[in-house]
């Protein structure tokens, strides 16, 4: 087990190194840098003036030197300065992480709390009216773009309640934060809950047809015991894998949802930073997201052993 963990840890480092090279190179392959953008925004085309700005920001250095400087800084905990706000990148990124974390956490909770039980219900009541209704709902969740759902929700709030659930200032306490984030979390979590619901349903249906379920029933186990103790425990493994993947995918949905609900989290900030080619922000944020995604995958792998004792890790 220990050797497996060490191997996985080094694999994680290798993955992160690959991502760092990839994001660094990709950013510089995309046409235009911050100097191009600020000069274009001002309608200016003076090449000499632009070169001065590039020099000031260190963009005139060879790419390899810029990469080493960035990684060196990262190792020392120095993330550099945002080109746009001219503030330390860490000061720009750190306050936004809890906002997105709360939103993502709530969205995931929403997805699991609704997705798993409704998936089980749908499987247990297969081909009933309830099953059909839940299947239609889950299909809508998968087909409906998050930005459209978000806008529909906002329009409904304005029309029926005369208010709009968007972020306008830092929420004062837990309940106000919960109130603020729950609507966008539901909007972004709806897709994930639909996916989890469908997967739980199909996985449950497969398990419910197994011999040991029939045996459990023959033994006289209650229907609830069969469904939730014997079947769900075995059906949940693929669902856990998908939850892990969905957590990483949530980032994509959050970019749209943070924009529609005007939430100043890291996802929207990342898009804005890409638009401005604010390299220090983009590079460090992408690395942060990569670390989170890789860690979640690692945790999901570990969770398998807890959920299914038959799984053994070997070096």
């Amino acid at each position: 087990m220990a050797s497996y963990l060490i191997r996985r840890f080094f694999l994680m480092l290798l993955t992160l190194f690959g991502i760092s090279v990839l994001i660094f190179t990709m950013l510089r392959v995309v046409p235009g840098n911050i100097a191009d953008i600020v000069f274009n925004a001002a309608g200016m085309i003076d090449v000499a003036e632009k070169a001065k700005l590039e020099k000031e920001l260190g963009l005139d250095q060879p790419i390899a030197v810029q990469y080493v400087q960035w990684i060196g800084g990262l190792a020392r905990g120095d993330l550099g300065y945002s080109y746009v706000s001219e503030k330390p990148a860490l000061d720009e990124i750190l306050p936004r992480i809890p906002i997105t974390a709360k939103l993502a956490g709530l969205a995931l909770t929403f997805a699991i709390v609704f997705g798993v039980p409704l998936g089980v219900l749908s499987a247990v009541k297969q081909n009933s009216g309830l099953d059909y209704t839940l299947r239609v709902i889950s299909l809508s969740g998968l087909s409906m773009p998050a930005f459209w759902l978000g806008l529909l929700i906002l329009m409904a709030f304005v029309k029926y309640f005369g208010t709009i659930p968007i972020y306008s200032s830092t929420p004062a306490g837990f309940w106000s934060a919960l109130g603020l984030y729950s609507v966008p979390a539901a909007a972004v979590g709806f897709r994930s809950s639909a996916l989890i619901m469908r997967l739980t349903r199909s996985s449950m249906l497969e398990v419910l047809r197994q011999d040991y379920i029939r045996t459990a029933r023959a033994k006289g186990a209650s229907e609830q015991n069969v469904n939730y103790h014997h079947a769900l425990r075995n059906a949940v493994l693929p669902v856990v894998t998908v939850i892990g993947i969905e957590t990483a995918f949530l980032m994509g949905g959050l970019i749209v949802t943070e924009t529609v609900f005007n939430i100043p989290g890291v996802a929207r900030f990342l898009v804005e930073a890409i638009r401005w080619r604010d390299y220090p922000i983009v590079q460090n944020l992408v690395m942060f997201i990569a670390i989170v995604a890789v860690s979640i995958n690692f945790l999901v792998d570990m969770l398998y052993a807890v959920l299914d004792p038959r799984i053994k890790y070997s070096g």
């Binding site: 235009g32 001002a42 200016m44 746009v84 706000s85 304005v158 968007i166 200032s169 100043p264």
Partner: protein
């Protein structure tokens, strides 16, 4: 009975008059909440070239002189003193002397003096030790040869040649005074001005917060306790936030005619105004390489344009046809409609296109053998949409055009390299003045003369109109120049946009400028009737 009725009517009238008077009496307090369409690059007005900066930042600063904030049409006659108490020209019109206001303090408590004025011009002209990171309007002040201070409260600008419109440039929202003791870099992150509002915080993607300057030199102002700009980049969300009352006002000029209709249907009390913003959509052609180095072909292009269709399709009728300068009545210097009609391409579209086809046929083009070109433009909806209409219109004169959307950051660099054949561009004018429009966009060698159009004879006329002090005489000269620019097909103007702004009825004293989108955001006497 009759007496009683009269008394009752008098009482009602008196109470109505009283309530109107009370409503008209400005109230102190309250935070004006406005949504901002994007995160502005900084709040240092001199370094930026978008009213995304002017709108939130103009309240932080003062100019020497400024356009009267409650006269919608900016003109020489609406310029009022601000940090200067008066100004005077020397007899030869080569010296402009300003008497400065005493007792004005920067937001950090330092006194404002003539040295600050000199520092501002040193920054603008790149003469001082401290430099702007970028200086988009340095050419506007190239006629100033020296800035001399005479004591702490008098400053004289020495000009190379007479230029009456310099005062207009100084009155623009783009020309605030900066202090000597705050660096250009600091001004980008924590601006210090003398204006009615002080900078509190600028959070990227989130908000810009300004608070009342209690030591403002205009006693009793501002009325507002502060202004809160919430950055809402998604327009649908922003408009809904306005309808729901989360903000008191939309971002200036951000509302289209269709959006205003939508807002009014949901909130009939909303006050909305549509006005020209002095931003023209224009056609640029590569004058240095074939085929458009040939003026005949350029003329054919100009004759193919159906401006009414552009205006109807892109702006639902809310735009104006005109030349380089914004057309009247809002524009001060634009050609009168009768004159405009005499320019090729501004009259009957069918007849013009007949002429255009004849020109194209002379060059061997026909419906079967069209001229194939690319229409390049920035990959933004405001550029792309008119480019698509243009492509459709060019078909009528045997031009088979293809859209070439260019990554926004690469647009001006591509144009500067002459790496295009035909392009569609937007040009914003900070002030409604011929000097800015002519020298910036059409003078030989100007950085923003993207087509490199160069006509020395016409440039001599630029200088001639620039020194003219008689407004009516100057107007006629300007019209002739503008007409010649259109006839030369230097940069055919497709239309001048109009845009809207909405606010809640309790926002008082709000005036929308109607010939510039850059000059009307001081907000010192805006108040909330809540």
């Amino acid at each position: 009975m009759g007496t009683k009725l009269i008394a009752l009517a008098t009482a009602i009238l008196a109470s109505l008059t009283l309530s109107t008077a009370q409503a008209a009496e400005p109230k102190h307090g309250g935070i004006l909440k406005v949504y901002h369409r994007e995160t502005p690059p900084s709040l240092s007005i001199h370094e930026e070239a978008t009213f995304s900066v002017n709108a939130p930042a103009m309240g932080l600063y003062n100019n020497l002189v400024v356009y009267d904030q409650h006269k919608p049409q900016n003109s020489m006659g609406t310029i009022v003193p601000e940090l200067a108490t008066s100004w005077a020209w020397s007899a030869d019109n080569l010296k402009l002397t300003f008497k400065l206001r005493e007792g004005v303090k920067w937001h950090d408590g330092q006194p404002f003096t003539a040295k600050d004025v000199k520092c501002t011009f040193d920054l603008l002209q790149g003469k001082g030790q401290d430099k702007f990171r970028k200086n988009p309007r340095k050419d506007l002040f190239s006629n100033i040869s020296d800035v001399a201070t005479n004591g702490d409260f008098e400053v004289t600008l020495q000009l190379k040649r007479p230029q009456p419109s310099l005062v207009a440039m100084l009155a623009s929202g783009y020309t605030p005074m900066y202090s000597c003791h705050v660096t250009a870099a600091q001004m980008r992150t924590h601006p210090i001005g003398t204006g009615p509002f002080k900078f509190v915080e600028f959070k990227q993607n989130e908000s810009i917060t300004l608070t009342k300057n209690p030591d403002y030199w205009k006693k009793g102002l501002p009325y507002l306790d502060g202004i809160q700009y919430t950055i809402i980049s998604n327009r649908a969300t922003a408009v809904l936030a306005f309808v729901a009352g989360n903000v008191d006002m939309t971002f200036p000029t951000e509302m289209t005619a269709a959006l205003i209709k939508d807002v009014k249907s949901q909130d009939p009390t909303a006050v909305c105004e549509i006005a020209p913003i002095n931003v023209s959509t224009n056609l640029i052609m590569n004058l240095e390489s074939p085929p458009f180095n040939n003026i005949e072909l350029r003329k054919a292009m100009a004759l193919a344009l159906d401006r009414k269709s552009f205006i109807d399709i892109i702006f639902q009728g809310q735009a104006d046809a005109g030349g380089t300068l914004l057309p009247p009545p809002e524009g001060v210097w634009g050609m009168p409609p009768d004159m405009l009609k005499t320019i090729p391409g501004y009259g009957d579209v069918n007849k013009s296109r007949e002429q255009a086809r004849a020109i194209m046929a002379k060059f061997g083009y026909s419906a079967d053998k069209p001229l194939k070109i690319k229409v390049s433009t920035r990959n933004l909806a405001t550029y792309r949409d008119p480019a698509v209409v243009l492509i459709d219109q060019l078909k009528s004169i045997y031009i088979d055009a293809e859209l070439d959307p260019v990554e926004s950051s690469q647009w001006f660099a591509k144009v500067a390299r002459n790496d295009y054949s035909v392009g569609l561009n937007l040009t914003g004018n900070g002030i409604d003045d011929p000097d800015q429009a002519f020298y910036e966009n059409y003078a030989c060698g100007s950085e923003r003369n993207y087509t490199h159009y160069c006509n020395k004879e016409l440039e001599a006329l630029f200088d001639k109109q620039s020194v003219e002090t008689d407004v009516e005489k100057r107007k006629k000269m300007v019209w002739d120049i503008d007409k010649k620019l259109q006839e030369d097909v230097a940069r055919p103007i497709l239309m001048h946009a109009r845009s809207g702004t909405c606010w809640k009825p309790y926002v008082k004293n709000m005036t929308i400028m109607n010939n510039s989108a850059y000059n009307g955001y001081r907000y010192e006497d805006v108040w909330l009737d809540k």
